[in-house]
């Protein structure tokens, strides 16, 4: 007997693609911004993904972990990630330098249903590092501005120094086709000119929302969901038009390792984007 090979699939889904860090700089004290390019230039330019999908990033000798893609597919070539230093893999990534090599696999997950969102008003609510996946869909909407109705952004952070993409969002705020509201829980600088208070304090400032016409996208720390969803339900936005993207432990990203299982679904295949109805229906989601 000889070892035979009958599988049709030629690609091993567990093998990463070598990628180079093009740029990296701090966004806040513990969050860094990474621009990454696949070493194989053809694969780099043909790397297609949806806003809200994630990639597995590996660092030699440290391991692999899932990260939301923060860049938009409307600007191909470079992949961008916002990474907070919290564990083994992120510590190793922080120790790398520009031009260093990492491994990238993906894109994985369902991502946001951007086709279904076309023509709708988009209400994006982000808190803290929740900006990482939602920046992708925000930039996608702005790059395809005529496909969407109103685009509304609510962004909250604890302190001005902890607001990631602060400068980028301050620039975006000047656009007339984006309703952008920024807030901090506490202003310890005395320089903050925008709202002070948790992100829900921004809701009364919104111009009237047409609930059936609106798709809300939410991502932030676990404590934020409960209060933001209450506000969205008060606005009468349907439960299946409230989308949220979730975090889980993942070791494969392709529905095999089991770590992200919830009921009968895998966050890596059926998520990480879920509707609020899914969350009520499936328990354990948040």
């Amino acid at each position: 007997m000889k070892v035979v090979n009958k599988t049709n699939q030629t690609k091993n889904p567990f093998l990463p693609e070598p990628a180079r860090i093009v740029r990296m700089y701090p966004l806040t004290e513990d969050v860094k911004f990474f621009q990454v390019r696949l070493v194989d230039i053809e694969k780099s330019l043909s790397f297609q993904y949806r806003p809200g999908q994630f990639a597995m990033i590996s660092v030699l000798g440290a391991g692999e972990a899932p990260f939301s893609i923060s860049s938009t597919p409307s600007r191909p070539g470079l992949l961008e990630f916002c990474i907070r230093q919290t564990g083994t893999v992120t510590r190793a990534i922080f120790n790398l330098k520009e031009n260093d090599l990492i491994g990238v696999r993906g894109p994985y997950g369902n991502g946001f249903p951007i086709e279904k969102m076309e023509g709708k008003d988009i209400l994006i609510v982000m808190g803290g590092l929740g900006a990482a996946p939602l920046r992708s869909v925000l930039l996608y909407c702005l790059d395809n501005r005529d496909l969407f109705g109103r685009v509304i952004l609510l962004h909250g952070a604890k302190r001005p120094a902890e607001m990631i993409f602060l400068q980028e969002f301050l620039d975006l705020k000047k656009r007339s086709d984006l309703e952008c509201y920024l807030t901090v829980d506490q202003d310890d600088t005395g320089q903050w000119v925008d709202n002070v208070g948790v992100v829900t304090t921004l809701f009364p400032q919104l111009k009237e929302i047409n609930p059936n016409q609106t798709v809300a996208l939410v991502c932030g720390p676990p404590v934020m969901y409960k209060f933001v969803i209450q506000e969205l339900l008060k606005l009468n936005i349907p439960k299946d038009q409230i989308l949220m993207t979730l975090e889980r432990r993942m070791k494969c990203g392709v529905g095999k390792c089991g770590h992200c299982a919830i009921d009968y679904i895998y966050t890596c295949l059926d998520g990480p984007v879920f509707t609020y109805w899914d969350v009520i229906h499936m328990r354990e989601l948040i």
């Binding site: 070892v3 090979n5 391991g63």
Partner: protein, 353 residues
């Protein structure tokens, strides 16, 4: 399906012929009287008088720990050294069903080459069995098997009825056609049917799986889970011995003195504390009761909703393995409304004795 006859005395010569260029793996009795699928170098070690092995045969397709690939700055080198030509002999119908569930799981969405390559390079020969007091495969309809094997040996008196399940299985018979008889007599058929009827009556343990998805849903917040959670040792043994548990962990092992890392894949269990923990301190299933719920949701509810059958093949391994008697049988009884307290008091008394 084609069926032929093999006299028992011809079994070893046949195995000799098929394992000429392949490893032969078969059940062996260990010193503690338990059985295990082992690499066979001496045919006399094969012991077919067994009920269940400690670990299910999935250990041959995805070993407890293996290297997936080497990673270096120069690139990635796949490692399929666990894939060798094998003949796996003596697999019972429940374990064959376990492999069928594994086949389905590893083919869906993204194909898993580490499992599929190993499966393609293994000839699987099934063997008939007799239930003990822990077997409940009749309740999961996995006591009989119609696919998923190359050959299946039904043991009767002094011969086997050999069912040919695949083209490769048919090729195996052609290696030693003189050992097999083509004609099956009326008497053989009668004794097979008699054996089958007798076996059908021999099952002592029955579980009603049909109502389990509803009961899991209705008793999701029932205190029984807290009671079970307090007793659970969180050891993960139930996952290690289960034929349908597939979870694994991945670790990066830098190799000393070399410029590469080995990316190891090793069995994991959702019963272990860090299973759902993410960086930053959040653990989505901190409590043992939450982790037990996940395990039993997967086995008794999720798989039934998705595939119409439970992710349980009735092998009874969790019944003989769990040190505190949390298993498919006791949990399904608790879900059906048996007083969990009474069950635990009984267990406590048994421990005292």
């Amino acid at each position: 399906m084609k069926i032929v006859k093999l006299k028992k005395e011809n079994l070893h010569p046949f195995l000799q012929a098929v394992s000429q260029d392949a490893e032969l793996w078969a059940p062996v009795r260990l010193s503690n009287n338990k059985h295990s699928f082992q690499l066979i170098d001496d045919f006399s070690k094969i012991d077919l008088d067994y009920t269940r092995t400690i670990l299910p045969p999935r250990k041959l397709f995805l070993p407890p720990e293996f290297n997936m690939f080497q990673a270096s700055f120069q690139g990635y080198q796949e490692d399929y050294s666990h894939v060798t030509p094998k003949v796996l002999f003596g697999v019972h119908p429940c374990d064959l069903h376990g492999l069928l569930i594994f086949d389905q799981f590893h083919r869906q969405a993204f194909e898993d080459p580490y499992y599929l390559k190993a499966r393609e390079n293994t000839l699987v020969f099934g063997h008939s069995c007799w239930p003990d007091e822990y077997c409940f495969c009749q309740s999961t309809h996995t006591h009989i098997i119609e696919e998923g094997y190359d050959l299946f040996f039904s043991e009767l008196d002094d011969y086997y009825l050999v069912w040919i399940g695949s083209s490769e299985g048919d090729d195996c018979l052609r290696l030693t056609p003189e050992l097999f008889e083509e004609s099956i007599s009326e008497e053989d058929i009668k004794s097979y049917i008699a054996w089958q009827e007798k076996r059908n009556r021999a099952f002592q343990l029955h579980i009603n799986f049909v109502s389990m998805p509803d009961l899991m849903e209705l008793r999701y917040h029932h205190p029984l889970w807290e009671v079970l959670g307090q007793a659970c040792l969180s050891c993960g043994s139930c996952s290690m011995v289960c034929p349908t548990c597939n979870c694994y962990n991945v670790n990066d092992h830098p190799v000393l003195g070399k410029n590469y890392s080995e990316i190891h894949r090793c069995w994991d269990s959702c019963m272990l504390e860090n299973y759902s923990a993410v960086a930053g301190g959040e653990n989505f299933r901190e409590k043992r009761s939450q982790r037990l719920k996940l395990w039993y949701t997967h086995k008794l509810q999720a798989y039934i909703s998705k595939y119409g059958k439970p992710a349980c093949v009735g092998c009874g391994r969790c019944l003989v393995t769990c040190p505190v008697d949390i298993n498919i049988y006791t949990v399904s009884r608790a879900l059906e409304g048996e007083q969990v307290d009474a069950f635990w008091n009984r267990l406590a008394n048994e421990v005292k004795q």
